[in-house]
Subunit: 244 residues, 2 copies
DNA sequence: CGGAATGTTGATTATATTCAACTGTTGTGG
DNA sequence: CCACAACAGTTGAATATAATCAACATTCCG
């Protein structure tokens, strides 16, 4: 599933042939660049670089300059709003071939969140300048970027809605249902949490203690079975009802 | 300050000369169209229409199709996430010359919020199609739209942060300070709430009862004086301290 | 094996909601 | 102009919800 970096120490890889192919492959897959010419993609690639992150390392910290738009080649990150004390609120998990940081990079603003690797991760860093140049020349690319930003906006809005209008149990139930929705197994769907329960709790804007109690509650009610990070959905209909 | 609509009944105005000037003036002011040619702006204007809303009327309802991108010619609206029972969460107030609905209009999605007029309001409705055509032809316009969407994203993100990390009193204090920040009077700054206390409470994601108690508390502590919608900031430093 | 990180559980507390009753304000038609 | 209805705001009491604190158990790695 994952392909190790060719450089195991240090954060930035060298320009080895394998790395170059990885970088170009990631860029070729970006929805934003679907309408760019091969030449334009090559120009972007020539200005981009790979950055390897060990588990726990940060791709960017709140308030620091954004190095550019960021694409996950492999691995997993969390985008989080850290608090002075206690745990951060997790805004989003970002997995392979997903992009983040478009908004602050485009506007040349400091990072509005921190991005921490939840596993060893490889990023493609695309600096602002070549992207701006391309946007000026390729309206279709600018449209795709706008569409991607619009998507991000709508999904944040629905986060806000969930936070304002549903309690923790409802958010948890909805989250489990949405995880199960992606899985297509027949019988009892099993889902795997994408991160530790503490981190998932932060994603749901609750404390880890509260999440623990809620999972126990759902288990006792026969809705789910919890085995570490693996959760079996026993009564999807009832779970969906709780999410209302 | 405000100019009445030339049509007082019905929601859509006719094509009177005064209306046409209003519509063209609003469009000429749009940041998104700064780099468009006069001809392109005229094309947009020819496809746009005015829509007049009485106080309390909705420009769009949650889940219904978006008529296009919307610009406020004059008046005031709230963008809100309604709940089945009880009050909505207010996401943003939208005043003169401000735009909303870019994201759902661009993506041709149903309205992700309802937009309700807090005063008699005139909107310019810009349908999706002519905007898309312009985006294809004018990269600079697409860039401005992307930048505007990126701004919206960042400001929602900071809403989310405030909600997750500050309690109601902190959010209220920060809100009062930010209102006062715009006013440049010397001595004790006075601010005027942009809407009823009930609506402002929804903007802060608290109940009107809670807001009432908090305002009383701040008054008793000598931080502010409340006279209806007008609030005098007596101790701005302490208020800012409470917002931390 | 040992230590750190993660997770669980119970007790207590903070925060704000909900409910209910009451007061004040505003706008409208008689 | 007044009466009145609808809306807006205030206050108190009871309650819901989840955070916090503290102690302990478990799991994961090196």
């Amino acid at each position: 599933m994952q392909q190790g970096p060719s450089v195991t120490h240090g954060e930035t890889t060298n320009g080895g042939a394998r790395d170059l192919r990885l970088l170009e492959g990631v860029i070729a897959n970006m929805p934003m660049l679907r309408d760019a010419t091969a030449h334009q993609r090559a120009d972007i690639a020539s200005h981009a670089r790979l950055r390897s992150l060990r588990r726990g390392a940060a791709a960017c910290r709140l308030g620091e300059p954004m190095p550019g738009m960021l694409v996950v080649a492999y691995g997993l990150l969390k985008l989080a709003l850290p608090r002075a004390e206690g745990e951060a609120r997790v805004v989003r998990f970002v997995g392979s071939n997903e992009t983040f940081g478009e908004a602050p990079a485009l506007l040349d603003r400091p990072a509005p969140f921190e991005a921490v690797a939840l596993a060893d991760t490889m990023l493609v860093v695309i600096p602002r300048a070549p992207v701006l140049r391309l946007l000026e020349r390729q309206p279709a690319v600018a449209c795709r970027l706008a569409a991607s930003l619009a998507e991000s906006y709508l999904s944040l809005l629905s986060e806000l809605q969930a936070l304002a209008q549903h309690n923790g149990m409802q958010r948890l139930a909805a989250y489990l249902v949405s995880l199960a929705g992606k899985e297509q197994g027949e019988g009892e769907p099993r889902v795997c949490l994408p991160a530790s329960k503490t981190t998932v709790a932060a994603r749901l804007s609750i404390q880890k203690e509260t999440l623990s109690r809620m999972l126990r509650d759902l288990s006792e009610r026969g809705c789910i079975r919890v085995e570490g990070r693996v959760i079996t959905i026993l009564d999807r209909a009832r779970l969906a009802g709780l999410a209302a």
